[in-house]
Amino acid sequence: MVEREILMPQQKLHYEGLFDPKELYKLINMFLRDKWYDMRERDNVKSTTPEGDYIELVLEPWKRLSDYAVSEMIIRVIMENLVDKVVEKDGVKVKLKQGKVTVLFDSFLQTDFENRWSGKPVFFLLKQISDKFIHGDYLTKFKSEAAGDVGHLQELIKSFLNLYRY
């Protein structure tokens, strides 16, 4: 059985104002690519409402850290009441969107993702012993790496959204 450990409590990021959703998505994609994550888009919702567009994204990027552990994130981006706006920046007209953005981050470490150590009770016991006493250092290193990636992405998105505060 795959063991999924929550690495940190859910992190939230709120923003309201002008921004470019395409650039935001591109930023997340580029970051994940740079960190060798594989992209998985579980859900992608777009609906048009009288108040503006509603976009919801559920991204589940994952990275194989070793034959035993996988780092996984769940990034939920919710954009509400998006309305088109034209803004002048350095004498150039730029098309942006105005609305609310909420980004939720979750980070997990999956161990034994191939179900190799859960077939028999003896195997499971061996797995627990190795996790605690033999490969404990490796796992803590993986955990800090996975949690660090989420923190880094969060900081990047924050600084990206601050750019649009005219």
């Binding site: 579980r42 919702v45 609906s47 034959d67 969107k97």
Partner: protein, 218 residues
């Protein structure tokens, strides 16, 4: 004459009996099951989980169906519409379901399958002015689910006997599966092929998140 007729009858009955006996003996023979029940195919599913696109608004239903079909055909897939359901009588509008599969031979041993399941709700026809021209479009909501599968030995070369099947099992489990996990060639290609289709659909629907620049060269 009577004797001859009798002989003829006897011969016919003997042929019938012998045929029956043959059939019985064939039925009694233990059948070789090509795939054992407890066999776990490592290539049963591609590593990409189900991805989904949901949309609510105005769109061109017929053109969307055509787009999906043309996308796969242009990429040398064999496209099949598995089922197409039309439900009428809902006060909010029509309801439709469409299941399609696209298949492509990667090489002599591997075959890609990309399955899509589209469910449309509350469909109503509306007239929209686009670029100064009146056009009939559809208003409603839908979701499209994309799923992938990698098939091994699709020609059935290794299914002929239990010995050849054992060879297949050895190749799948010990050579290819490990190789795939180590480097990843065929799984990854299917995975990115599915992502590309996912992105093409988003682009078609003019979604803000239609961007594959980061994974374009993959």
């Amino acid at each position: 004459m009577r004797q001859k007729q009798n002989h003829g009858f006897q011969l016919q009955s003997w042929v019938l009996v012998s045929n029956m006996a043959k059939q019985k003996s064939e039925e009694d023979k233990p059948k070789i099951t090509k795939t054992p029940k407890n066999y776990k195919d490592p290539f049963k599913k591609a590593p990409l989980k189900l991805s989904r696109i949901s949309y609510k608004g105005v769109f061109d239903y017929d053109h969307l169906q055509l787009f999906i079909k043309q996308y796969f055909i242009s990429r040398k897939y064999t496209f099949q519409e598995k089922s197409n359901k039309y439900k009428k009588g809902n006060p909010y509008g029509k309801e439709m379901e469409a299941k399609t599969t696209a298949e492509r031979q990667f090489n002599e041993y591997f075959k890609w399958h990309i399955n899509t399941y589209a469910h449309y709700f509350d469909l109503r026809e509306v007239e929209v002015i686009k670029d100064g021209v009146k056009k009939k479009m559809t208003k409603g909501k839908f979701f499209i689910e994309i799923d992938g599968k990698l098939e091994t030995d699709y020609q059935g070369h290794f299914d002929k006997s239990s010995f050849t099947f054992g060879i297949k099992r050895f190749i799948d489990n010990m050579i290819l599966f490990r190789y795939e996990r180590m480097g990843g060639v065929i799984w990854d290609k299917l995975y990115y092929e599915m992502l590309r289709f996912h992105n093409a659909l988003k682009k078609y629907l003019d979604m803000e998140t239609a961007d594959m620049e980061a994974y374009a060269d993959a």
